[in-house]
Symmetry: C2
Amino acid sequence: MVWRGPETWEETALHSSGLISIDWGTSAFRAYLVGADGATIDQRRSALGILSVPAGGYEATLAEAIGVWRALDGALPILMSGMVGARQGWREAPYAPCPAGLTEIGAAIVAIDGGALGPIGLVPGVRRGDGDAEPDVMRGEETQILGAVAWSGRADETLVLPGTHSKWARVADGRIRSFSTYMTGEIFAALKGHTILGRLMNDGQGSGEGFAEGVRAATRLSAPGDLLHAVFMTRSLGLFDRLSASELSDYLSGLLIGAEVLAGSAGAPDGAIVVGSPGLTERYLKAGALLGLKLRAAPEDCVPRGHLALLDGWRARAL
Amino acid sequence: MVWRGPETWEETALHSSGLISIDWGTSAFRAYLVGADGATIDQRRSALGILSVPAGGYEATLAEAIGVWRALDGALPILMSGMVGARQGWREAPYAPCPAGLTEIGAAIVAIDGGALGPIGLVPGVRRGDGDAEPDVMRGEETQILGAVAWSGRADETLVLPGTHSKWARVADGRIRSFSTYMTGEIFAALKGHTILGRLMNDGQGSGEGFAEGVRAATRLSAPGDLLHAVFMTRSLGLFDRLSASELSDYLSGLLIGAEVLAGSAGAPDGAIVVGSPGLTERYLKAGALLGLKLRAAPEDCVPRGHLALLDGWRARAL
């Protein structure tokens, strides 16, 4: 099959108000077919993250996943975000520096020739600025943030994207002004899997009280180093039968998430938007409720929403 | 060989002002032959911690290690501390509750019949009190603390015993009033060995600047949860070439130790005594100097000093 449609992703953006939206991370692939009204018509998920794609195999992997959609509409725009744009991905899309909004990120989209799939736009990640004392990067989350902000309709927001490496981001005037990574998920896994804390844990169904206890324990910390002590309480409370074995994992989870939410939401009196998987989002909302903070869940389709906002922004500037 | 000396460890205490002092932990064994003047005459170390002792093999293992000393003086007192007194050790010595000093800990010493070695005194661990919101225990450290306090000559002290599980203890009127465990060493190992942070690290000889940078970073934290973000800087500073690969491990060490020292020493205007291995003690003293805190190193023989103080206390009460 030879491509006979528009030559650039910008042309495809003018062709159609629908979209094929791709979120291609390290260990997961997700694609959305989005109609002209912005609603998701169909979606695909797989474990074919970029670590699982054979050398030179990006185009074939993508064609396999979205070939049917492409056959339905030969010139729908395709936008991709995530680690697929990292140096070790399909093509590197250099990071846009903060502050970065629809204009800056849209201007830094990298064009890929998708062969029989036609032109593809590759959304760059975002990095904190050169003079910043705390360098940090994101790739994929910038699109979710743009989608969540488009959903909220407010140009000033605090957002958290929980996960292995949680990101807390500040958006001002519609642009990502700064963000910080919290290793909460990976630290939880390392403590549970590779320290003495995991030994007393029993992964039976907890009552939820362990999680609440952990969040409350987070509020009693004062010095930053207190966390090094507080995690050990997971063991002591188990040894002294103050918490049952089935509550200990949730206690550690609540302690770490509580500490993260308190730190990340500092200076955000209007609360924050949570952009994450349903399970993690529920934990963060529960922690927020216990802490008296206004956390609200973003819809699950923030990636296609972010891509649509980028296309809309591009059209608004082009027309 | 049949024992023909004193029948109890208390009688041996009256017999001699010397001592055979044993520190028997989970993974290490250490013994000191102490002369009448309190000086260490000889010592033995091995990796025969209680996890390596075969079932029923405590007496034989100890006889193998100190049999020569016992042959020199048939009735020197023998005192043991550490996990050898845990439920999974030779005999359980129930914890003495805080506040616990020479009198309380001395009164809770458990007598063991050492067969051909004669009577042995087993020093109990210490636990925080029943009504305490934060249950915690120590076993072995109580003897080091008593030894360090005997060395300092002051009845009110703050002490840190750095390690896999660091202990910070407050001594008031010569008694351990409270203490807290910080998982600093084990968290460092888990982060380095089982998270993304270890991947950029190169264990070449650092300049020491990485450690100092980490300690300084600890002073810039404000919320407890900031630590979940700060550890990630180990990766970001490496990725952005702000720290060389050989400094990253020391940076993480400095960050965690700095945070621990700031938290543990809060409310201790007179500083603290560091009781640990020479290598770790040097790191803590360096962190203290960078933080403007008065940390001072205890001598290495705090275990026999603690045992001597327990014997002296017992004699003072007995005579």
